[in-house]
Amino acid sequence: MIRSITRRKPDEELDRLLEHQNRVFIFGCGTCTTLTNTGGAEQVQAMQEYLASKGKLVTGSTVLPVACDNLTHEGLRAFSGQINQASALVIMSCAFGVQNIASQLQKMVIPALDTLFIGKETGVGQFNEVCTQCGTCVLGETGGICPVTACHKGLINGPCGGTNNGKCEIDKNKDCAWTLIYNRLAEIGQLDLMKRFQPPRNHQGEPSPGKILLEG
């Protein structure tokens, strides 16, 4: 299952965002940010303590089951008293949850997390981005490994000169996407696919902002 992967904002940024907000309500999310230990019950509790130490009054907190879901309004209603007492909402969900909550309450929202990517848990505590939703899928020519996502530069004609020992120039622990693709294509006897010159990508393949109306 793919998840929204988040990271807590640095204290300094949170402090700046909360500078003029003295009464806050905290939201966590029982789905993605619980999985990533960035917005589950434990982290909400820790945030409560952190904000209290900064002299904020925490009017209450809750961990919504799925912050981005339509049913979130029921959770909001259940805590309406405590929410109303707060001047700002500190939200420990991904940006989808933040926007969902913001659209339903006339309150200032403060995201406590940065949303990094849509990814998958590939090992214990390890999350990887698998798709950047570019709108022009090339997986059929790359052995099912996405260079738009897995190559730091999103190159589609093979590796750059910065790769070394099968790793990426930006991180010696990160695999070079094109070495992986080469190996995969070699394994399945399809190296000719890599030899085919790919014209420049359509960077407008992904609608910006993304919006679509299904026909029929």
């Binding site: 004609n157 790769t163 070394n164």
Partner: protein, 295 residues
């Protein structure tokens, strides 16, 4: 008319190129000095483009200066900082101002440089940029629109003969040639036996190859490159030789090693020329050429 550099390549003479590094700032004195010193000695000078993703005086401006001073510039263009509109526009401008050689590069990652939070563009890659040059030469832009006046370039690209693994790099190399690269300047090569093997393979393609020579300036610098520069391997014997240099004599030792390599390349007719990179010490290029029997 073919560029002077292109003519040199076509004549089959042993071609020598070196680098000009634009400064960080507007004081062009040192660069002008290097251009003056080298313009009549080398066949062409590569002008680097925000080398290592460090913001500098633009390669286009510095290439113009080479031209104005009577030298032969090779404009290096990376795909890191410009999308296809900007790259094409700069190619139009370069041609119009008499810059007729271009080296197409993907470009280092932004995060390796000094503006680490900038956006890396990479709208195109190096092979696509070569193809774009060829399209502009046909009087069309990349979108297929007619140009009022076409360009003409001697276009090249790079390869890393010591990359590990080499096979994916060779596929990219072939794509660059298929896209229309006429010359290839290589990443530094030190192991000439390995390079000979690469050349045996490369000779089957209609492309001129200039071997990359990076001046070793000290044993620690050589070790640093081994650790940090992708696709560069300085053999232990060279590191030992650098370490054996008397105090203050490391640079001379580096010049000797580079000269020896150049001599071997010429004597054994290994490839079509050399690209001498004396990173930050361009004033030593004539000494390296002399040590290699080229002056």
């Amino acid at each position: 008319m073919a560029s002077k550099f292109k003519q040199a390549l076509d004549q089959g003479k042993f071609v020598v190129t070196s680098e000009v590094a634009p400064p960080k700032g507007v004081n062009l004195e040192k660069m002008a000095h290097h251009i003056e010193l080298l313009k009549d000695k080398v066949d062409a000078m590569n002008v680097t483009d925000h080398q290592s993703s460090v913001m500098r005086f633009p390669s286009l401006g510095a290439a113009l200066m080479v031209k104005e001073m009577g030298g032969e510039p090779i404009l290096q263009m990376t795909c890191r900082d410009r999308n296809r509109l900007a790259l094409q526009a700069d190619l139009l401008f370069a041609h119009q101002r008499g810059i007729n050689n271009v080296l197409c590069l993907t470009g280092d990652s932004v995060v390796l440089g000094d503006h680490k939070t900038a956006k890396g563009v990479f709208d195109l890659d190096s092979s696509q940029l070569v193809a774009a040059v060829r399209k502009l030469e046909k009087g069309k832009d990349m979108a297929g629109n007619d140009l009022d006046g076409a360009v003409s370039f001697c276009a090249g690209a790079i390869v890393t003969p010591e990359a590990n693994p080499i096979q994916p790099q060779l596929i990219k190399f072939e794509k660059k040639i298929e896209a229309g690269a006429e010359f290839i300047q290589t990443q530094a090569v030190y192991d000439l036996e390995n390079f000979k093997n690469f050349m045996e393979y490369a000779r089957q393609f209609p492309v001129k190859v200039l071997a990359g020579i990076i001046l070793l300036t000290s044993a620690p610098m050589a070790r640093f490159m081994n650790k940090n520069v992708a696709g560069v391997t300085v053999p232990q014997e060279f590191i030992d030789e650098m370490a054996s240099a008397p105090k203050g004599g490391a640079i001379q030792k580096g010049i000797q090693i580079a000269g020896r390599q150049i001599k071997q390349i010429v004597d054994e007719n290994i490839c079509d020329g050399v690209h001498i990179m004396a990173i930050g010490k361009e004033e030593l290029v004539p000494d390296i050429m002399a040590a290699g029997g080229l002056l």
